[in-house]
Amino acid sequence: MSTNIMNNQDPSIAQALRDLPQLDCPQDQWQAIAAGLEKRKRRTVPASWVRSLSAVASLLLAVFISSVMPPQPNDTVEIQQLMAASQYYEQRVQLAPRVSRADRAMAAAEIEDLIASVDSQLVMASGRTQQRLLWQQRVALMSHLVSVTDPGAGFEQPRIL
């Protein structure tokens, strides 16, 4: 059944979606964007919680890598392992109950922004070593996100392929 479903992709629906018109933003966003850019320029010292988060992420990364990742001379293999770990955490986050506490929701949103930033860098990463380091950061952030979104579940090491 799954094979049939996989093949059941409809080119005419795809074409109809491509034919949908482009949309204009209801409001001009430039002033808000310019203000946001200015704010970023002024923010020379990160807020304390960002520094704390980075420290926690670094610590988690060090602990995580040293405890579960055997030394791997081959970046490609290690990247695959990190991708699997990241995917595992993504699934944990999806299964986690909805965050109800405001402080946790805010922390989760900020961690997700950091993850999005790592994702953007991953797109531009040229070498395997750089990719590996970014995947390490992503896994550390994902594990932290799990601990924020589902604190009752406790820490569980990811399954490594």
Partner: protein
């Protein structure tokens, strides 16, 4: 397949924007605001959420222009920032509100009020009623031309996940459209 993001940009304009020239940054915003908003709206299906994504995309991209290396088209880089930002916004919203899954949708059957346009169908309506993740996968694949492997990677899922989301989403849209329009919109060729 041409992405609506595929707009050529003068390298000098990017350099000036990277140096902090406000008017160059604004020019880049004016050039790309429509494709960014369109993608954000198609993912979020809410003008306010989409506008928030647009702001985030341009603030991130314009403040990190120094990281754009210039060995690939600028639009591809910006589009990737937009996709990552929109996916992140979807994840956040999904956790806040809860999102219906594709399985939920198939179990509950489709859209009860897919409307007809003067041409007989409303593809936008059928698309907008899909679960958020399915919408995002379908848009990235069908409109932006990403491969299933690329989509799987971006969403931290498998290639098969992307394939099945597209196939199930198409099936759901087709059955909804057929049900309402009373004819076979997309006859199977085989």
């Amino acid at each position: 397949m041409n992405s609506s993001f595929a707009i050529d940009v003068d390298a000098q304009l990017i350099e000036q924007a990277a140096r902090g020239c406000t008017s160059s940054c604004e020019q880049l915003y004016r050039l790309f605001q429509r494709p960014v908003y369109t993608l954000a709206y198609r993912f979020m299906q809410c003008p306010d959420d989409a506008q928030e994504v647009v702001q985030d995309v341009f603030i991130k991209a314009l403040s990190k222009l120094d990281r754009y290396r210039g060995d690939a088209p600028f639009w591809g880089w910006l589009r990737q920032v937009a996709v990552n930002t929109a996916l992140s916004a979807l994840r956040k919203r999904g956790r806040r509100k809860g999102e219906m899954s594709m399985s939920d949708l198939l179990e509950n059957q489709l859209p009860s009020h897919v409307s007809q346009t003067s041409h007989g169908i409303d593809i936008h309506q059928a698309y907008s009623q899909l679960p958020a993740t399915t919408r995002a996968v379908i848009w990235l694949h069908d409109v932006e031309g990403y491969t299933h492997a690329e989509i799987g990677k971006m969403m931290n899922r498998s290639t098969s996940f992307s394939k099945s989301q597209v196939a199930r989403g198409h099936a759901a849209m087709r059955s909804g459209l057929e049900y309402e329009a009373g004819f076979d919109l997309c006859p199977q060729t085989s």
